[in-house]
Amino acid sequence: MSGIAGHGAAVHIENCGKTFPDGTQALAPASLDIVSGETLVLLGPSGCGKTTMLRIIAGLEKPDAGGRVLFDKTDMTAVPIEQRHVGMVFQSYALFPNMTVAENIGYGLKIRGVDKAARAARVAEMVALTNIGGLENRRIDQLSGGQRQRVALARAVAVRPRVLLLDEPLTALDASLRDRLRSELNSLLRSLGITAIYVTHDQAEAMELGDRIVVMRKGAIAQIGTPREIYFAPQNRFVAEFVGAANIVEGPVSDGRLTLPGGWLALDDAVDNAAAVAMIRPETIGVVAEADAFLRGTVESVAFIGDRERLVVTGAANKPLTVDAPNTINVRAGERVGLSVTPQAVRVLPKED
């Protein structure tokens, strides 16, 4: 694993908060552990503190007093970014306009005093790795957005960083290119075995790239988990609604049943007899004959999305339910339907103020 990328450090973040001079708290004190070789995604809407967290790890921001950043158990808190040995990829690419592609990729090595021959060899290796052969002598303004992002990645990886930090690297690209680069980036990160921290507001990107995802909200960590945990077992309403599509239902609970206007749902989780809020993913709801279900409603609309039919069913819960049915289903708007939901698919969310 250490061949092409070097050794990826384990990162330990302890009580790192950030309060700006004007008193706004961008990040509440938070702790995180990132395993060596892991890709960790910081996911959240803008202003959630994810970029501030990344910049603290990079050394571009100093955490508030009491916060510490450790790479492989060495305290890096007071070490400036130029000595942290990190690689950074920016949303704006931040490529040097006065240098060619090859000079950009080799810049970190040149600064480190690597001799010309070794530098050229490493640059060639990076060019091959990121599929930008033939562009070595181009100027930056002669590259497309996708090519620029590859050069930025090559430049960051060339120095064999201990941690690779990526700040929304694909956001500036158009949708189809973004999807392609995302899967390329995914296989690249896997093959390098590098420790990577990836900031994004795009949940699809987070799902595909992250070994683990840290969902953030208003300067605090809302949940940490694998993509499956985040998707199927969100710990709060924010995570449930931010990651994927979610139906939020609420009603009184008695004897393990959640009562709704159109019937009831069996619960798997042990819940006290009281009002409860639960989440159901649209694709976990089955459409059956009215007589075969304990929960019934009226189809308000049917939209064909290609790989599935998206139904909106009213009357079943307090709010219309979104149901993703197979694209072979034959229902029309106005029809009465039964909805089948397994107890495992109903995720009871903790009470929030």
Partner: protein
């Protein structure tokens, strides 16, 4: 009236004014320069005549030194002022750009107040060392005066260029291991290149043609604008002063054109 004719009629006042107050005097100046006892060779006098040549070299060296010193000072100050927020910043920027409002005579007067025979520096050095230091009337006094009115012009351009600089470039360089000096050398200064060329050219041309400051200070230095003045008013040597004027204009214009083409290239390269 056709659309085309309408545009020509609108342009007519500009054509008349340009012809009457710019082209005609220029043509006249050219003719006067060639109409003296030397004929066309008056135009070469600026190079062949030792006294004129020395003055030309003086002027170019002084203007170049002013430009370089101004760029160094204005870049450091501009970077600092654009990147830091502190109490009194707005007042400081206003003060730094204040000399724009002064005519050259006032700038010269200020230099005399500072370093003249009755000046502040003279009084202090006389009190401390017993020897009065006076440099207002030397080339250094002139240099200081030129610096004073060149800095505001350059500092504003540099500040605007710094504001447009992507801070991500510097952060990227630092993440790759570049020290603060290396970041300035490899990233910031190359990115500011076009602004240096553009504002440096203006500073150079202004210094080449500055008259008021030189006139107020000049006792033992000769610069081209002063030479033209003395040839014209004292010696009544119309032909030579016209030829010198053309020479001064051509040299300043050539430097500006060169700078423009260089900055054009640099801008294209910087994307």
């Amino acid at each position: 009236m056709s659309h085309r004719n309408f545009i020509w009629i609108c342009l007519l006042p500009l054509v008349v004014v340009t012809a009457a107050f710019f082209l005609l005097p220029m043509a006249q100046l050219l003719a006067v320069g060639a109409g003296g006892s030397r004929g066309m060779s008056a135009y070469l006098a600026i190079i062949t005549e030792p006294r004129y040549r020395a003055t030309l070299i003086n002027t170019v060296v002084l203007a170049a030194a002013t430009t370089i010193a101004t760029l160094v000072i204005a870049t450091i100050a501009g970077l600092f002022l654009q990147r830091h927020r502190f109490p009194g910043r707005a007042v400081l920027i206003a003060m730094l750009t204040f000399p724009l409002a002064f005519p050259g005579v006032v700038v010269g007067f200020l230099i005399i107040l500072l370093a003249g025979r009755q000046g502040l520096i003279g009084a202090i050095t006389a009190a401390v060392t017993g020897e009065k230091v006076v440099f207002a009337y030397s080339i250094f006094g002139l240099f200081l005066g030129y610096l004073y009115f060149s800095i505001p012009r350059v500092i504003l351009t540099v500040m605007a260029a710094v504001q447009k600089l992507d801070i991500g470039l510097e952060e990227a360089a630092r993440s790759l291991g570049a020290s603060p000096w290396a970041v300035q050398r490899d990233v910031v200064l190359p990115a500011l290149g076009p602004a240096f060329v553009a504002s440096g050219a203006i500073a150079f041309a202004t210094a080449m043609g500055a008259f008021g400051t030189a006139f107020t200070l000049a006792t033992n230095i000769d610069v081209l604008p002063m030479l033209i003045y003395t040839e014209f008013t004292l010696a009544a040597n119309f032909a030579i002063s016209a030829a010198l004027s053309i020479g001064l204009g051509v040299i300043a214009w050539a430097i500006l054109a060169l700078a423009r083409s260089m900055s054009g290239g640099a801008v294209a390269a910087a994307g």
